[in-house]
Amino acid sequence: MDLQTEVLIIGGGATGAGISRDLALRGIPSLLVEKGDFTSGASGRNQGLLHSGGRYAVTDPEAARECIGENKILRKIAPHCIEDTGGLFVSLPEDGAEYRATFIRACEAARIETVPLSPREALSMEPRLNPLIIGAVQVPDGAVDPFTLVVENARDAESRGARFLLHTEVVALIRDGLRVTGARVRDRITREEYAIAAPWVVNATGAWANQILGLAGLQIGIALSKGSMLITNTRLSERVLNRCRPPASGDIIVPNDTVSILGTTSLREEDLEHFEVTPEEVSFLVKELSRMIPSLREERFTRAYAGVRPLVQSGETADDRGISRGFALIDHGSCDGVMGLITITGGKLMTYRLMAEKVVNFICDKMGLHVPCLTHVQRLPGAGLSHALKDRLLWLRRQAPASRGELLCDCELVPRETVDAILREGKVRELQDILHRTRLAKGTCQGGFCVYRLLGVLNEMRKGEGLGGSNRILKGFLEERWRGIRPVLWGISLKEEELIESIYKGLFNLTPEERDRSEGSQT
């Protein structure tokens, strides 16, 4: 099975999906391959912050202007992916009034609207803030749901003829002399290998950029920086809370539906497949962010996770936060003499659309096409829908008890019907695909109860076997869940952990794989 397309996009993050949509809107066929599910990389592992640009106003005015520009565009084209929370930049005594004044001036220069607030005003808006604050500045920050944003881009592109192959990895780039003419890919589930021919190959793999370039013997200067985040069990604030000081680690709290996401750290990372949140990072984040919200120390945390940012290196800098958060578009034809290959990396979730626009402009230019970009005006198809808690509750209330059906997840109110609909679509290939597309396993118990029920549904449909044997899937899920919860196991989370472990290892007697094999157990 060999395929052919005009533009082959590698990487199913925000940038890749954005390029796919931009191409589709300009009538250029494309095919996207992604080795995992959508947003498996940094697009799905960030703080979900809709930047106003305030964070970069003082240190990187260009990034700040990009952010506020894209912020306004995303509010128009993807309102259903955004919660317009607003944000505060909060000054603690150690941050000083002077930086606050600089900050306000810099925001004005970047055309970011600011509203200076007195400590009293800020505390009445956000009562859990440290009462010692000396002031705050309101900016148009918000929260964004990256997964929905990416899936919506892909869905729109697909409806216009673009193609997507998930769980498909590139194993080689096909060369014809000095030109890249496509790629050999492998289906990670069926192990099938085949070729995709394309005059243009776009490497939109973010932190993985050099892994793809290595297949062509190329390399670019990017630094990999791990950022770790914590999720609280409740929502700590109505607005995004930032420290009003030069960007540093542990200075942002983003509300996200019913929870808050705390971040971040910044550590050099080499291993892209195995990176963990360390106990030291967790302790650091809790300590640092409890300066803004003192009650944080008593808070229950449900999960920790980390993402790896690709940072474009333009020179030698000691601190990764000093490296520009800007993006790089590299034409390997003019840089390295390898034609037909483009790399787009660096940047932020906030600028995914702009990055896509630049890539497609470049390709159009090379093709001699003069079609204008439409992604900044054309709304995404689902605009108008909402996944917010209040809308889920309203949906539930509208259902008559008899037709409401089972709730698979009591924490996050996921009805069985939702899962049935996803399965009927026939696109999911592994358990995590289902979890990405619903709120299953995202609540307080982190799937401890609902995954058992979900597997029951799969077994009832005998789909469990297709996905790899049900107790093997269950163990895989528990192992993946463990990566997220292990860093935050103390207090009430530890109680929950004792419960879950007692159920699966105790009551259900699930054992490590090694023992399964030696005992020939029924899994």
């Binding site: 103390w490 007692s502 009551l507």
Partner: protein, 408 residues
């Protein structure tokens, strides 16, 4: 005025066993606790030491195992202590709802995940599940009852399974407790039995979720067996556990009948300690705080889940008496890298270290409190989850703690 001989803190299986042992010895007993402990979560069968394979004589297995694990709570009780405590436990459950063993060794029972779990004593309602074969077994789940996925069980046990609709009730809001109460009603279980009979295709054993009634489970089972014409057995499932509630109810009824005082639901907020002795405990019943005093005290407050242990970001502590807690040095050492590893996570071995009589000791082995005894899962140096020893440890140490507390 000291009114009680013994105050038992904790109303899980260890505390209940201690209180009952003491009351049989003629003591005046007060038992206080917040809830049913892990009984309501996992109480099904009585695991003693699942690490001993079925077919191996349990006495010999446990005795050898103790020799290899001299720090384990069972090294305090010995096999004789376990056996004596189990006899006492079984006496509390006379037929028809009795606990039985497959001879002198562990047997394997099916679980709600379709796996098999080694255990020792089974309630009669689970007996027919031990040693089932695929050909003669039918697993029955109920539509809309999501905490027992019959298809998962039958798929793994490679036998036939059906999901049946429940007579009279729709899908909405069905809990295990609601189902168990319905089963106690004869007309309900009779019509359920009819539905199951119509689904049977020659199978000799029928597996159902463990919800066969709270009041008279043996009668529910027998009625269903009569109608269906096959043996019926319960399968342990996700919490809450109905068989565990039955155990709790039986203990409570017995203790109250024998004159013990039961205080449930209010937290024990503090303990007064003087000269290495506990002088009293304070129970908060807002707006009142009352102090209760006794000659002896048994601490059976469980682990993290039960509130017997508490972990902040740095340390594990015992919040009531502030007893020394044996634990790994740093939070980074609490857990293994993977969820499933052959060894237990180190934090599960944390807990209270005691002397041979189950009195708490410090790092040097010196007794910390001379009139306090410790029982159940709060004890250090066992791996109840991996070993499958939860109920055995609770019963054996609860029994021993009471004996020691009253014969000092």
């Amino acid at each position: 005025m000291r009114r009680w001989d013994l105050i038992v803190i904790g109303t899980g299986l260890a505390g209940l066993t201690a209180a009952r042992t003491a009351i049989e010895m003629g003591a005046r007993v007060l038992i206080v606790g917040r809830g049913m402990g892990s009984l309501v979560l996992f109480g099904n069968t009585i695991d003693v030491l699942g690490a001993i394979p079925p077919g191996v004589d349990l006495e010999a297995g446990v005795t050898n195992w103790i020799a290899a694990h001299p720090d384990h709570p069972y090294a305090r009780t010995g096999w004789a202590g376990i056996a004596e405590a189990l006899v006492a436990f079984r006496e509390l459950f006379p037929p028809p709802y009795s606990f039985v063993a497959a001879g002198m060794s562990n047997s394997l029972v099916p679980t709600g995940a379709g796996t098999l779990r080694p255990t020792y004593l089974l309630p009669v309602t689970m007996r027919a599940g031990a040693g089932i074969t695929a050909a003669e077994t039918l697993i029955v789940g109920f539509r809309g009852f999501k905490d027992f996925q019959g298809d998962t069980v039958s798929l793994h046990l490679k036998c036939r399974g059906v999901n049946i609709p429940l007579p009279r009730y729709g899908l909405e809001g069905l809990s295990a407790l609601a189902l168990a109460r319905l089963m106690d009603e004869e007309p309900f279980r009779n019509s359920l039995g009819e539905v199951i009979r119509s689904q049977k295709a020659g199978e000799k054993r029928i597996g159902l979720p463990a919800v066969l009634g709270l009041r008279e489970p043996a009668a529910v089972m027998e009625d269903l067996e009569g109608i269906i014409g096959a043996r019926v057995f319960e399968i342990p499932m996700l919490p809450p556990s109905i068989p565990g509630v039955r155990i709790f109810n039986r203990f409570r009824e017995h203790l109250i009948a024998k004159g013990a005082t039961f205080l449930m639901g209010n937290p024990v907020t503090g303990a007064t300690v003087k000269d290495g002795r506990c002088e009293g405990i304070t129970i908060c019943n807002p707006p009142l705080e009352t102090t209760y005093r006794a000659e002896s005290y048994i601490l059976a407050t469980g682990r993290f889940l039960g509130g017997g242990l508490w972990a902040d970001m740095e340390r594990v502590s015992e919040p009531l008496f502030h007893l020394p807690v044996s634990q790994p040095t740093m939070r980074g050492d609490w857990f293994q890298e993977r969820f499933f590893q052959p060894e237990a996570h180190p934090i599960h071995r944390a807990g209270i270290v005691t002397d041979m009589a189950l009195r708490p000791v410090d790092e040097e082995g010196k007794t910390v409190l001379s009139n306090v005894w410790v029982a159940g899962s709060i004890l250090a140096r066992h791996e109840a989850i991996e070993e499958h020893s939860r109920e055995g440890i609770a019963i054996a140490t609860g029994y021993l703690a009471a004996k020691r507390a009253l014969t000092l």
